[in-house]
């Protein structure tokens, strides 16, 4: 694992990461400019512009640290610059870790295994980067016509679409979790505790209307699951 991380952390990948981060930052600045130019026409005065910016800033701190907690765990598997690029562009630790896992098993190895050849890292990268362009291509091509598409789907039957999307995600992550959980009894416990911790936190957050807890829940559930799994190795 050490050798592969040296390759994954090499200068070239840092350069790619820097370019991609720069493009994302550039886009944010361009849209701040576009919004500033049209703020008056949309009925926002300069004070409201400042208020909106401050609200965005405050609200983003919690989620960003929540993302960062999960991010540190991915660094150990695929190195820093690739983690930064993936969290930078499509950026969901859950989708990217599943992409990495699937890419590795397509090559015939387990993510994080001791014998992890560079070709397996390449398979992981192809899966993550090409898989991630799906959202980008759809957004680039179809945002213009999305308004019309949306109306049609809502008219057809919005509940069926929502149920299918939910079931697809539950099914996929149940399989991925199962695959990990059969590794050992401690892995099983780590997985089950993480599921339970997440359900309890989300239900509590809904009940008490705690939006901050929803932002932090994934990071907390991850920590709780990992810690419990590790502690059971001393007992089992």
């Amino acid at each position: 694992m050490g050798d592969i991380l040296q390759i994954a952390n090499s200068t070239v990948f840092w350069v790619f990461a820097f370019i991609i981060v720069a493009i994302v930052a550039f886009q944010a600045i361009v849209f701040l400019w576009i919004a500033s130019r049209s703020a008056g026409d949309a009925g926002m005065n300069p004070t409201e512009v400042k208020t909106a910016i401050r609200a965005g800033f405050i609200s983003s701190i919690g989620p960003s640290f929540g993302i960062a907690i999960i991010l540190v765990s991915l660094i150990a598997l695929i190195g820093s610059p690739i983690t930064l690029m993936r969290v930078g562009i499509i950026g969901s630790a859950a989708t990217e870790s599943s992409a990495a896992s699937i890419g590795a098993s397509a090559f015939g190895v387990e993510l994080g295994a001791d014998a992890f050849p560079i070709e397996a890292l390449a398979a992981v990268m192809w899966t993550m980067f090409i898989g991630g362009t799906g959202w980008l291509i759809v957004t680039m091509l179809f945002t213009k016509s999305l308004g019309r598409t949306q109306e049609k789907i809502q008219k057809h039957n919005p509940k069926i679409m929502a149920a299918i999307a939910l079931a697809a995600m539950i099914g996929a992550f149940a399989y991925l979790a199962s695959q990990q959980m059969i590794t050992s009894l401690s892995h099983t416990i780590a997985g089950i505790v993480a599921v339970a911790a997440m359900i309890v936190m989300m239900k509590y957050a809904d009940h008490r209307n705690l939006s901050w807890l929803k932002e932090w829940a994934l990071g907390f559930a991850l920590l709780i699951g990992m810690t419990t799994g590790y502690l059971t190795t001393f007992i089992l």
Binding site: I130, W135, A172
Partner: protein, 242 residues
């Protein structure tokens, strides 16, 4: 120059250089024109840039895993994520608006960062949902969140590299359980409203995992079975009557 002409000159001031001849809400038209232009351009550049790292490791570092392996990886991933490529932009569009969609899908973390920041900015200025004011306020919220996120991530990832080099053994031991914990936590996040579906999906997952079928099609099979069961149960409950 008459008074009326002067007035319309002021109104069209912003629009005149790029969109001559558009009257009425012309400056909001300009907002959408600019959003589509810059949104599409930045997404196109990122799509091209996304090809570079895998191409580099395959052909410059000479570590090509073979197109069969790549195809299997992408297909396995697309089998459950592919539906999200289309459904997520459609689902979030009414909340994010045109500019918000371009921003959110580039910077990522839509559900856990962009949407909360967009609605926080909209509520902070008292904008009616769906109004132009809400759309522009949301852009401020998401754009600032995107910049904040980048800064925090860069600091954490630079610190994270150092952090990993000084890790005590027990933390490394904990990271041995990161994958079951992540996948379990995400499963919980999607299933928490109906934990029954989560349990059913886990049972299906275990059954498929031990079933003697070709391993690459196991995820699609598990997804298809879960969709079938969830749709059946929702139908029984009468929740799908549109």
């Amino acid at each position: 120059m008459s008074n009326a002409a002067e007035q319309s000159q002021v109104v069209l001031n912003n629009a005149v250089s790029e969109a001559p001849g558009i009257a009425g809400s012309s400056s909001m038209d300009l907002f959408y024109q600019r959003s589509h232009f810059w949104g599409r351009l930045t997404l196109f550049i990122i799509i091209i840039m996304s090809l570079m790292p895998p191409l580099y490791i395959s052909f410059v570092m000479d570590a090509h895993p073979g197109w069969g392996v790549i195809g299997a990886g992408i297909l396995g991933y697309a089998s459950f994520i592919g539906i999200m490529w289309i459904l997520e932009p459609i689902t979030y569009y009414p909340t994010l608006g045109v500019a918000g969609t371009y921003l959110a899908f580039l910077t990522g973390n839509i559900a856990n960062m962009c949407l909360p920041c967009s609605s926080a900015a909209q509520k902070a200025v008292g904008a009616e949902p769906g109004s132009q004011k809400a759309e522009v306020a949301g852009v401020f919220g998401i754009a600032v969140a995107s910049l904040t996120n980048i800064i925090i991530l860069v600091i954490m990832i630079l610190g994270g590299t150092y952090f990993i080099s000084i890790l005590p053994p027990f933390v490394e031991g904990m990271f041995g359980f990161v994958l079951p914990a992540i996948f379990g936590a995400v499963l919980g996040q999607f299933a928490y409203r109906t934990p029954k579906y989560g349990i059913i999906a886990l049972v299906i997952g275990m059954a498929v995992l031990f079933a003697p079928i070709f391993s690459l099609i196991k995820i699609p099979i598990c997804v298809a079975l879960t969709i079938a069961v969830v749709l059946f149960m929702e139908k029984q409950k009468g929740n799908l009557n549109g």
